[in-house]
C-alpha cells in the first residue's frame, strides 16, 4: 500500500510540473467498514472447503475494512486513472489490489484511446449481462460495486448526428493480451480482439458486439434499451458463443425499469444463462418512504427457476450526514440440498456497512 501511494505521489508531482497548469492529481474514494453476523451452512461442500478445517462455533462474525482509492489526473487530451482496493480482515494482514490502472489519449472529441487495466461494462441489463464478453464478473446482488478490470488496448470513435432517426454512432475496438501466460509472456496467436458498435436510433440504444479469442471462443451479441414512456424503460440482451461456424451456446435477458408516482423504482429481469439455467431477478427501492429523510430501503431477490432456490437481500441505506452512509444488509440463501443457493456456505448473513467518502 505504501509503495503504491508513494508511486502515485511521484506521478502526481511530475504531472503537476507539466505544461497544463490547471490539471491536478485528484484523489477520491471511500472507506467501507463492514461488520457481519453469519449463520453458516456447515454441511455444504462450500463451507467444508473454505472453513471446514478449523471447527468454529456458530454464528460466525466477520469484520473487514475495504478502502477504495481513486487517483485521476486529466488534461483536455490525456489522462491517468487508477483505482485501488484494499482488504483488511485482521490486525496483521492486509491485501491490496489494483482494480484499474490506465492512461487515456483523446486527441479530439471524436477519438479516444486507452491502454492499461480497465474495467469494461458492456450490456444494458442491471443484474446480468449476456453480452458482457469482456466484463468482470459481478455480484448481481450488488451490481454497483467496483470491479477489477483487464489489460487491454482500446480505441473508440464517436460521432454525434443530427438526423431525425439516428442521433449518435460509436465504434470501440479492444485488443486483449493472451489470457494464459507463463512468467508474463503468452502466445501471440492467443491475442484476442473485441469490438462494439453503438447507435442511438429512434430513441433506442442499440449495441452490437463481438469477441474473438480463437476458434474456441467467438461471441456475438446484441443489446437494446428504450424508454416506452416517461417512467418505463425496457431492455434486452442476446449473446451467443460460436463454435465451428454455428451457435453453440446462447444466453438472453429481458427486463424493465419502472418508476411509479410514489417514486418507487422496480427493476425486474429474466435471464437465460448459456448453461441452460433460467433466473428471475427483481429489485424494489423506495427513497425516503413515509417522510423518513435520507433513508432508502430496498429489497431484491434472485431465483433459480430450475431448482427453485433463491437468494434475497434487503439493504437499508441511511445517509444522515454528507459523505457518510450506513447500510444494514440482511441476506438469505435458501434452497434444497444440492441446489445452487442451497449449497452456499452461508445460510443467512446480517451486515452493517459504515461508508465514508472522501475527495
Amino acid at each position: 500500500m505504501k509503495t503504491w501511494l508513494g508511486a502515485l505521489a511521484l506521478i502526481g508531482s511530475a504531472a503537476l510540473g507539466h505544461a497544463d497548469a490547471e490539471a491536478a492529481l485528484e484523489l477520491s474514494g471511500n472507506l467501507d467498514a463492514k461488520f457481519g453476523l453469519i449463520q453458516a451452512r456447515t454441511g455444504s461442500p462450500a463451507y467444508r472447503l473454505g472453513l471446514g478445517k478449523a471447527p468454529l462455533s456458530q454464528p460466525l462474525t466477520q469484520f473487514t475494512l475495504e478502502p477504495y482509492v481513486n487517483a485521476d489526473y486529466a488534461t483536455s487530451q490525456a489522462g491517468f486513472h487508477a483505482k485501488g482496493h484494499g482488504l483488511v480482515d485482521d490486525d496483521t494482514d492486509a491485501d491490496f489490489d489494483l482494480l484499474e490502472l490506465y492512461g487515456t489519449l483523446s486527441p479530439s472529441f471524436n477519438w479516444s484511446a486507452s491502454a492499461g487495466k480497465k474495467a469494461f461494462n458492456w450490456g444494458r441489463g442491471y443484474a446480468f449481462n449476456p453480452v458482457g464478453f469482456i466484463n468482470p464478473a459481478k455480484d448481481p446482488q450488488n451490481p454497483e460495486q467496483p470491479q477489477s478490470g483487464r489489460l487491454a488496448l482500446a480505441l473508440e470513435y464517436t460521432k454525434s448526428l443530427e438526423g431525425p432517426a439516428l442521433s449518435a454512432l460509436s465504434l470501440l475496438g479492444v485488443l486483449l493480451p493472451p489470457e494464459r501466460t507463463v512468467n508474463g509472456v503468452g502466445e501471440a496467436q492467443a491475442t484476442g480482439a473485441a469490438v462494439k458498435g453503438g447507435a442511438l436510433l429512434w430513441d433506442t440504444d442499440i449495441d452490437l458486439m463481438g469477441l474473438d479469442r480463437g476458434p474456441g471462443e467467438r461471441r456475438l451479441g446484441l443489446a437494446l434499451s428504450r424508454n416506452l414512456s416517461t417512467n418505463l424503460e425496457l431492455h434486452g440482451e442476446y449473446g451467443a458463443l460460436w463454435a465451428q461456424a454455428e451457435p453453440a451456446e446462447a444466453s438472453g435477458l429481458a427486463g424493465f425499469r419502472y418508476l411509479n408516482s410514489l417514486n418507487t423504482t422496480v427493476i425486474a429481469e429474466y435471464y437465460r444463462a448459456g448453461s441452460g439455467r433460467d433466473y428471475a431477478y427483481a429489485k424494489l427501492s423506495q427513497p425516503e418512504p413515509f417522510g423518513w429523510v435520507h433513508f432508502t430501503p430496498s429489497l431484491s431477490a434472485i431465483v433459480n427457476l430450475q431448482d427453485g432456490s433463491f437468494s434475497a437481500s434487503a439493504p437499508q441505506s441511511y445517509k444522515p450526514f454528507t459523505n457518510t452512509e450506513i447500510i444494514f444488509w440482511p441476506s438469505v440463501f435458501i434452497g434444497p440440498e444440492g441446489s445452487e443457493f442451497g449449497s452456499k456456505a452461508f445460510e443467512q448473513r446480517y451486515d452493517v456497512w459504515l461508508r465514508f467518502y472522501f475527495g
Binding site: F109, E144, S167, D203, T230
Partner: protein, 243 residues
C-alpha cells in the same frame, strides 16, 4: 342569434390565435434572457429540511441548442463523478463505479429534495411548451403553458414574467389534473458578464414536501461553443475534461 354566436366564437378564436404566437414569443424571450443557447454553468443545489439541516451539491452543466444537456456532479465526494445526459426525451445516469450509462426518467430525483431531474436538466420552456397569455398588469404578464408532448415532466405551467425586462419571476408546475406539484421563484438578479443579467437563485417548494425547500444558485454561467460529441453516452465519463 345563431349568427351572433358564430361571430363571437370566431372573434374569440381569432383572439386566441393572435395571443398564442405572441405568448410563445414572450416565452422564447424568457429563455434567451435566462441563458445563452449554448453555455456552461456552475450551480449549487441546496436541499433544506424542516429542521434546518441542509445538504449541498455542486454541478457543472453544459447545454447546447434546443435539447442537449450534460451535467457532472462535483461535490460532495459521495456524488462526485456522477453524470447525467439529456438528449431530447432521453436521459441517462453515469455512475463511475458502474462504468456505463443507465437510462433513467426525468421524474427521478438523483439527489433527493424537491428538485428532480426535470428541474435540474430542464430544456428551454419554448421547446417543451406552447403558451397563452392569461392576464397582464402594468408590471407583469401571466402566461399559461401547456406541454407539447406527454413525455414532459409537468403537463401545465403558470408563468409570471416581468414586463420591464421579460425576466422570469415565478413558475407554478402542475400535473394533468391541475394539481400543484411545485412552485419555482426566480430571485436575486445578477450580472454574469457577457450581457447576461438573470436571476441567480431559483427557490422551490412543494405542497407534496411540506416544510422542505430547495434552492439552485447559479455561481457562474457563460456562453460557450461545445462540440456535439460532448453530449454522447461515450463522453459521460470525460465531462470533467471540459472544465
Amino acid at each position: 342569434m345563431k349568427r351572433v354566436f358564430v361571430v363571437i366564437a370566431l372573434l374569440g378564436l381569432s383572439g386566441w390565435l393572435i395571443a398564442s404566437p405572441a405568448a410563445d414569443e414572450i416565452v422564447k424571450a424568457v429563455d434567451r434572457n435566462l441563458a445563452p443557447e449554448s453555455y456552461e454553468a456552475y450551480r449549487r443545489l441546496i436541499n433544506e429540511e424542516p429542521n434546518g439541516k441542509r445538504k449541498e451539491y455542486e454541478f457543472f452543466t453544459l447545454k447546447k441548442g434546443k435539447d442537449k444537456l450534460a451535467l457532472l456532479y462535483l461535490s460532495p465526494a459521495s456524488e462526485k463523478g456522477r453524470a447525467t445526459l439529456r438528449l431530447g426525451e432521453n436521459m441517462w445516469l453515469y455512475i463511475p463505479n458502474v462504468n456505463r450509462p443507465v437510462r433513467i426518467t426525468s421524474l427521478q430525483s438523483v439527489v433527493g429534495g424537491v428538485f428532480n431531474n426535470a428541474d435540474i436538466m430542464n430544456l428551454d420552456y419554448s421547446v417543451e411548451y406552447s403558451a397563452e397569455l392569461e392576464s397582464e398588469t402594468d408590471t407583469e404578464q401571466v402566461l399559461e403553458l401547456k406541454a407539447k408532448t406527454s413525455s414532459v415532466a409537468y403537463d401545465q405551467l403558470k408563468m409570471w414574467v416581468s414586463k420591464k425586462d421579460q425576466m422570469l419571476r415565478k413558475v407554478e408546475c402542475r400535473g394533468a389534473s391541475g394539481m400543484l406539484i411545485k412552485t419555482l421563484e426566480f430571485k436575486e438578479d445578477r450580472d454574469f458578464g457577457g450581457g447576461l443579467l438573470r436571476p441567480s437563485v431559483i427557490e422551490t417548494h412543494s405542497p407534496l414536501f411540506k416544510g422542505y425547500r430547495s434552492y439552485i444558485i447559479y455561481k457562474k454561467i457563460r456562453a460557450r461553443s461545445i462540440p456535439d460529441e460532448a453530449f454522447t453516452q461515450q463522453f459521460m465519463g470525460r465531462l470533467g475534461d471540459l472544465r
